[in-house]
Amino acid sequence: MMNPSAMRAAAGTATAGAPARTPAARAFDARTVRAQFPILREPREKPLIYLDSAATSQKPDAVLDAMTDYYRRYNANIHRGIYQIAEQATAAYEDARRRVAKFLGAASPREIVFTRNSTEALNLIAHSYGRWKIEAGDAIVLTEMEHHSNLVPWQLLAAERGIELRFIPVTPGGELELDALPRLLADGRVKLVSAVHISNVLGTVNPIAEIARQAHAAGAVMAVDASQSVPHCPVDVAALGADFLAFTSHKMLGPTGIGGLWARRELLEAMPPFLGGGEMIREVKLSGSKWNDVPWKFEAGTMPIAEAVGLGAAVDYLEGLGLDAVFAHDRELAAYAMKRLAEVPDLNLLGPPAEKRGGVVAFTLADIHPHDVATVLDGDGIAVRAGHHCAMPLHEKLGIPASARASFHCYSLPEDVDALVKGLHKARKVFAR
């Protein structure tokens, strides 16, 4: 069968991918969508009930086909070869960048730097911008609900430079205590604020635009960890008013191994490089080098080309569904899950009310360790995350060692939630004491 997505990728044009484009706000049929994900079609003794999309999403045929097509038909290194398939590969890689730029509302594709994932994008900011602009005695503001990827890079920088880290507190209800922000910014020492857009544990949607406004008024730049928002809801960097935004492909129906950083172009132009090597240079002499233009200045070495092609196809696919519709679907499921989970005795839901969250529902069940809960669920083919979800400080704040988490994407169905609830009743019986 022809592969339209990969064909377009190779041809360097961007139009809607499968499934057929529907008006953005109109709901899609999750059952039809589900049929387009081979891992969910795979015959098994017990059907896979995948409720761990916040860890990584599943991939539709369109993405897998686009990647296979690249490897089978035009695999070549980019930005180098003079021959036809090398040009085709380069066009496909740069086309993926254009599509991502459009997807995020970036002013130009040059504002998109491809990285390995969100973690690398955040490290890029810390290494390049951080070492350039943030000095001893300065401060950085983060939040207490950060994933370790938006905490540890700043801790490393803080320890190296003598920078103070400050944190916007999290309320017991799992929201940011925004009233604390003016006080944190008051002394004018804060040079950067970095916050998660949607919490990977609580699902809380944070008021990034307001945080960015206050950060800018205080003379700080604003970075956003959008790992959980870009895959699920419309994200427009201009509307958010941020300076940096990190995202990752594998949570947005794309492959692992690629993600990216959006940054305002003038910042990227001025920032020193992150990794050194091939492609990021314009001219190399033994005595020194001149850097390439942005974004290539930040893309050292051979980049994940097939993954970029896959990411481009994932963007097409998501746009085909409509991000408004995806978010509405996720939130509807989260609300349904919260209602159903509340029926389970001794179940404690974490985080804010449904109307303030995305498609993520974390909980604890009596005093049963989440690993035990997850093991019983696994026996019925139900995949949930159990542990601290790379957010140990948040769990400490909530006073729990770990939690279990169910998270959704466009292929998730209410029946998945029903199976989860049934499994939780079972787990309660097994471990009752």
């Binding site: 360790h369 035990d372 093991t375 696994d378 026996g379 542990g387 060692p401 770990a402 471990f431 004491r433």
Partner: protein, 136 residues
Amino acid sequence: MSGWDELYRENILDHYKHPRNHGTLEHPDITFEDANPLCGDKLRMDFRIADGKIAEVRFSGQGCSISQASASMLSEKLEGMSLEDAKKISREDVLEMLGIELGPVRLKCALLALKTLKGGVYGIHRWPGEDGEDES
């Protein structure tokens, strides 16, 4: 038989629900605490030593059924055992004691009690571990 009822055999659940030697000792001769950061499991073991033997042992902490059952079962085995013999308990001994097949993640849960014991009886902060027991 699905995966979990294989894992949560009667004896595991029995030790989890009715842990033996649970609690702490006042003025223990040896006390040691260790954790499995991946799971948030924490375990403390207290020992009273008499004539080179473990006269009394208590464990406390929080964790999954596997880590708690493993600590409970190990504590039963330790009572009356010489410190020298306690040092010789291997990871295979513990797995045999539990009698279940474990994947790499739950293996760490199962072995936390052994790690805590070794840390205590060797009197070192971090027991050097055995082959294949290192943090991954």
